[in-house]
């Protein structure tokens, strides 16, 4: 389970999100329990509201302003042990990150922290269902962090690289 504390117009909300399936979540807001079905998920790297909401890389505090739709979706809510063992998902893996589009194994990484990339530039090769998939940068920017290593297994939505702000 993951707990978000959001400040919205001066009021504070505590939201607990528990993943049931990849697309079904149990969400508790102010004591009210909702079953939430995720209808679609898309990264919106160029959306105007997201950059300001993205926490600096590494900040993993509970009070992250993760209120964007994209950030909510990337809450794998796994047990912290497995999460730490794999790839630190959800730690700011919002729209300013490139997430694995499907489960697989990272075969190659073509960037390192500090690299400047163009939109569409090849970032990694993901082996899924024995096919080598080219993963391109969703936006232009600077790579703040590479979250995976070659040879590492990733789950759907796990961050591959994170972009620096700006």
């Amino acid at each position: 389970m993951r707990r978000y504390t959001l400040g919205l117009g001066g009021r504070e909300f505590v939201i607990d999100v528990q993943e049931i399936d990849a697309d079904r979540f149990e969400v508790v807001v102010g004591g009210e329990r909702y079953e939430v079905k995720l209808a679609g998920d898309e990264d919106l790297p160029e959306s105007t509201i997201t950059p300001g909401l993205v926490p600096p890389p590494g900040s993993d505090g509970p009070a992250r302003p993760a209120a964007t739709a994209a950030a909510t979706r990337s809450v794998p809510a796994r047990s912290s042990a497995t999460a730490a063992a794999s790839s630190r998902p959800a730690a700011g893996a919002g729209p300013s990150a490139l997430n694995a589009p499907m489960p697989g194994v990272i075969l190659e990484l073509y960037v390192k922290a500090g690299d400047k990339v163009e939109r569409g530039q090849q970032i990694a090769v993901l082996d899924a269902m024995k096919m080598h998939n080219l993963i391109g940068a969703p936006r232009a920017g600077t790579i703040a962090e590479v979250c995976v290593e070659a040879g590492q297994a990733v789950g759907h939505g796990d961050a591959i690289v994170r972009f620096a702000e700006g």
Binding site: A22, D23, D41, P101, M102, P103, M131, G136
Partner: protein
């Protein structure tokens, strides 16, 4: 010892070279070239080419009574053993997970078999007999073992050309599919994204799936029982995880061994007098028609699903409804990514592709039932 016949005895090989056998040796060399230099399904085309070459050498002892190629043919082609053994391996390599995550993809697999039946009608119109026409139509499944199985039962004399057509077109999937897919879809349709929903498929479901499918299909289409039974046996071994050694043997050692035997034996059926006929050419042409129509039907059906689903189905995945697992699914992913590099349809395409694999087996069984084979 040395007498008037000595020279002719020594040179009887040379004396038995015929124009037909020379042509067939050239065919064999073309197959070897395609396999080795072009990389078209080398695992099959190389043994088939070698078998063809060896069988067409003058007075080849290999296809005489008790010759090795004849023995292989009798051992595993005439009684359908080899394609069935291959199917265990295919089952052990197939992941039905994507299909279980999105069961409606079964419909695409069914649509991807339409060309089989259309081609059957075309072949009938061209004067092939009913069993021959059915065997030719099954090329459209783009599934080698199924084609061998069906034509071996219905029209063994056409086995050579049908197998060569099936495997050649299988290797041409990456070349034949994309133009069809692009012709039938708009760029906007190709850009439709399908979110990957990682529904967790329980181990129990994965284990029950092959059993349920076998019982269901076997009851509905008894003629498909051998194929579906072996496919699902392989899958049951894989998903149960209980017999890893057998799974590995089926997917690797047995499949490899049988592939060699199968290729050689098929190649040995390609003897000049049987192969060099106008009908071979017709089979090659009809086979590609069957393939193309299958792909068209799959894409059009996916377009229909997209209309009904309010724009949530990328029509490209319909092309994976033909068999040719998992190549067709990869081609779908590639074409989708050409249009939008952030679009990942692979899992959906794999689901449709696995459905196509099962559906082509069922289609084979339906054909056998229609033809009253047994």
């Amino acid at each position: 010892m040395i007498g008037p016949d000595t020279l002719s005895l020594l040179l009887q090989g040379l004396a038995h070279v015929t124009a037909q056998s020379l042509v067939m040796m050239v065919v064999a060399l073309v197959l070897l070239y395609l396999g080795i230099a072009k990389g078209y399904e080398p695992l099959l085309l190389l043994p088939i080419g070698a078998g063809c070459l060896l069988a067409n050498l003058p007075l080849s002892p290999l296809i005489a009574e008790d010759g090795m190629l004849r023995v292989l043919y009798d051992m595993g082609i005439r009684n359908e053993l080899f394609p069935l053994l291959i199917f265990i391996g295919i089952g052990a390599l197939t992941d039905f997970g994507p299909l279980l995550e999105n069961p409606r993809l079964v419909l695409l697999g069914a649509a991807g078999q339409f060309g089989i039946f259309l081609t059957l009608l075309l072949a009938l119109a061209l004067g092939f007999t009913r069993p021959e026409a059915a065997s030719i139509g099954i090329i459209g499944a783009i599934d080698g073992p199924t084609s061998i199985y069906v034509s071996g039962l219905l029209a063994p004399h056409l086995l050579g050309p049908i197998t060569v057509a099936a495997y050649s077109y299988m290797s041409l999937v990456p070349i034949i599919l994309p133009p069809i897919m692009k012709l039938l879809t708009t760029p906007a349709e190709r850009r439709i994204r399908m979110p990957y929903s990682q529904r967790v498929i329980s181990r129990r479901t994965r284990i029950l799936f092959p059993i349920v499918v076998t019982v269901l299909v076997g009851t509905l289409v008894p003629f498909a029982t051998p194929l579906i039974g072996m496919l699902m046996l392989g899958n049951l071994m894989k998903e149960s995880g209980a017999v890893e050694r057998l799974t590995k043997a089926s997917a690797q050692e047995i499949a490899n061994t049988v592939t060699l035997f199968l290729g050689l034996a098929i190649g040995s059926t390609m003897v000049g007098s049987e192969f060099l006929k106008l009908s071979t050419l017709a089979i090659l042409v009809l086979g590609i028609v069957a393939f193309a129509v299958d792909a068209v039907a799959g894409v059009l059906f996916a377009k229909l699903l997209n209309k009904l689903g309010g724009g949530t189905v990328n029509p490209l995945i319909g092309a994976a409804g033909i068999s040719a697992f998992p190549m067709a699914a990869r081609v779908v992913q590639r074409v989708a990514q050409e249009e939008d590099f952030e679009n990942f349809l692979l899992m959906h395409a794999m689901g449709a592709n696995a459905a196509g694999q099962v559906a082509s087996v069922v289609a084979g069984g339906v054909l056998l039932a229609l033809m009253g084979a047994g």
